[in-house]
Subunit: 463 residues, 2 copies
């Protein structure tokens, strides 16, 4: 009769054998391509109708002019005495947006920015704005046709922003993409939409409109404009929506380029874990400083920086109501991201380093897009509609993408995913780069580098 | 030479032996009483001084009257057109505070509550308010002396609120505690302070003022008033601060009663894990429906309901600036908690069931405490100052408490901790109860039950 100790060891070995077997089987299952889900390409997302829906397919110029009363009312609000609590002594942005800096932002907004509102509005109108109706939603977009395109190959490009960004992020990048130059054989015809529920694009009226459903609308927009095959570029939500589009509609995608490439399939998560413990197997040593391991990811990203995503994914209408029609709150909430996501180290600065990489005017332009369209609530609902089990159940992250893919990594982005983790999803990763500057908003912060990186990707993709 | 497989099994067995050994050693270490940390009882938390600090020990009546201009300004703000986004079709409180209900709250606030502000202010003045200076902070408190106390034993009680509550939570409970009755041999002399940074109590001016430091101030307050030994009752932060006080100053605590007893020591976390897998070993079957296991804890509590705590622990000044001087946002942000934390099922109701257990007047009284004192930013800083490694490094949760302890559990509280998990910290758990109603705010919602439970605890503690 075996002793109790021997029995225990036998049980343990038996259990381990089962675990190893199950892991192996699952690993094989996990590395198999995910099944492409079948989403309704015509699903209606507008307000409840009495009769049946008849889509108005017209594409019309869109006037983004802001009603003068709205600007006057904003001035009145910014004129109110600011009753913020003093920051704690010696603190920069470690407790969030510093109230002393917020006082400065509000003063600038009121006394400098708004006094020149006509100029800013003209600047925002610099590109041509349009609107068309897709699946019950009025979708706004900027359309820039190429210039100096003689002898160049022209490719259509869907350019996708994220949160808390807007089409304004692309104003410095757009001329680079759409103007032919000596260095590239390509020039781009760019469609930059406001995501549904963001800026001038209408939001869904009922639950269930997550990143996958947004990608269906974005594809329909491109088809409406006559682009059956197009390139995609995006960061933040733009990156996720673009990747979903490439996974769902491979026939329409010429290539996908992102400055925030990610992969959250179960297999990718296992590899991410392994890459944290055995970095030398997964990461080129010269870029080791880009990949900070799971401890950093958990503490600095998930714990320190994901509070906003946590509340937006669960109580979007509460935080939305707190920020709606509240310019001071909106500035604190959104500008904080342009500080910390541009460079984590700016948290220790009293002014959050806000003007190190951006001007107040640039940042206020972007806030104005949210303010004048009153879209903060509908913008943050995208978190709730995407970070849930229904959306995850689509298993889009496991669908293989065979289109050419390019991934640009800017050093101060919140987290980076190594090629080895991306490779299982992006089967044709033709371009992968690392830059020792830049953060979460490269189109806004380092447009020249982003342009050059994108052009270099396109060259490789169609070589 | 052993085969590779045999070597692997040997390595695994070796590793398991080490793991079991380490676990056993740590379990023994973990179950040992934690060392009581030595906190400075006179640490100064006020604004930076030129000279040395001289504490003003006077205890003075405090007038909580609100400046009429502030009320007039609040009316102006509530009169502004409300530009909220419509809720999604068919949605109650699942996406956070429903904007239709918010419209109703704001209308009531403006048209009914504020038009009778004088009555509400008189009601808030119903108890005597005082202020005294402790460690550089002006601390506000209500002091209610017992009545009909002939033949009764009088005991002093420190009554502690939490977030987003205030002393207003106790207005229905206070007369029950302080008036002698036939059923109890005891009557209580109650001190109900506003926590520092909450309501009329001053906030710390520099970082580091967490729940442990708050408990030092609360003890000094009781000593200042001549109470060297006293009872403590609290929920939410009041529960944690009270427990810290009992751990740090055993000589001053006659007994501790809480409606949110918890234990987050490492050993308690292990037991909580075990109780989830093996509930029958840890939980009395008749109360099994109070303990919903780790899956529910993770999904319903941490994922669904802790977004507010996540942002408050990391970016308190951002969310504070968004809510400061913003009555509509404050109502959405705070009232949401009085819906969902009172009963999770109210999330499916279009009005969040707000008035099922409270009146708008009660809820607005509480909001007014935050609004008129502009204390939302300083109140939420308590999360950042407590949920960090320095505070956790004090290891207060492992310090044994030998004073009598009573734990009342109201069914709809967000989560409950079984006695078996509490027992290692609370060494003298004399009273443990379960009620099939009530939620996170029992003093406010079911004051009679909370009073009776507390009286029953005191009877057992001094039997």
């Amino acid at each position: 009769m075996p002793s109790a100790a021997t029995t225990s060891v036998r049980i343990l070995i038996g259990a381990l054998t089962v675990i190893i077997g199950v892991t192996y089987k699952n690993y094989r299952d996990l590395s198999a391509p995910g099944k492409r889900p079948d989403l309704d390409s015509n699903e209606y997302w507008g307000p409840k109708l009495q009769g049946s829906y008849k889509e108005n397919k017209a594409v019309l110029p869109y006037d983004i002019s802001v009603a003068p009363e709205l600007i006057a009312d904003l001035k009145t609000q910014l004129d109110r005495p600011l009753k913020l609590q003093e920051p704690l002594e010696g603190v920069g942005f470690e407790y969030g947006f510093n109230a002393n800096e917020l006082q400065k932002v509000v003063k600038y907004w009121r006394e400098s920015y708004l006094t020149k509102w006509n100029e800013h509005e003209q600047f925002l109108k610099k590109f041509k704005h349009f609107q068309t109706e897709i699946q019950g939603l009025k979708i706004h977009f900027i359309h820039v046709k190429p210039v100096k395109a003689e002898g160049k190959k022209v490719l259509p490009l869907l350019l996708l922003h994220g949160w808390p960004g807007s089409v304004r992020e692309f104003y410095e990048l757009l001329p680079l993409l759409t103007t032919g130059n000596d260095k590239s054989d390509y020039v781009f015809e760019v469609i930059a939409p406001s995501l549904p529920g963001y800026g001038w694009s209408q939001s869904a009226s009922r639950p269930g409109f997550g990143a996958a459903q947004v990608s269906v609308v974005m594809r329909n927009l491109m088809l409406r404009l006559g682009f059956n095959k197009f390139l995609i570029q995006g960061g933040d939500w733009g990156s996720i929506i673009g990747s979903n589009l490439a996974a769902l509609f491979p026939d329409n995608v010429l290539g996908y380029h992102s400055n925030m490439c990610g992969n959250s399939s179960p297999l990718a998560n296992i590899r991410m874990l392994l890459s944290s413990f055995l970095p030398s197997f997964y990461i080129d040593s010269q870029y080791a400083h880009f990949y900070k391991g799971l401890g950093h990811l958990f503490k600095n990203l998930i714990m320190e920086e994901m509070g906003y995503a946590h509340i937006q994914a669960t109580k979007p209408d509460t935080i939305g109501s707190a920020l709606a029609h509240n310019p001071v709150g909106l500035a604190a909430y959104i500008f904080e991201k342009f500080s910390t996501w541009t460079n984590e180290e700016y948290k220790s600065l009293p002014d959050g380093g806000l003007t190190k990489r951006f001007s107040y005017d640039q940042l206020l332009d972007n806030i104005m897009v949210y303010y004048v369209t009153n879209s903060i609530t509908t913008s943050v609902r995208l978190y709730a509609e995407t970070m849930n089990s229904t959306q995850m159940g689509l298993n889009l992250e496991s669908v293989h993408i065979h289109a050419p893919v390019g991934c640009a990594r800017f050093l101060h982005e919140l987290a980076h995913t190594p090629d080895s983790v991306l490779a299982n999803k992006y089967r044709n990763l033709v371009h992968s780069t690392h830059y020792n500057e830049g953060g979460h908003f490269p189109a806004f912060e380092v447009p020249q580098q982003l342009y050059e990186d994108f052009a270099s990707f396109v060259k490789k993709a169609f070589a």
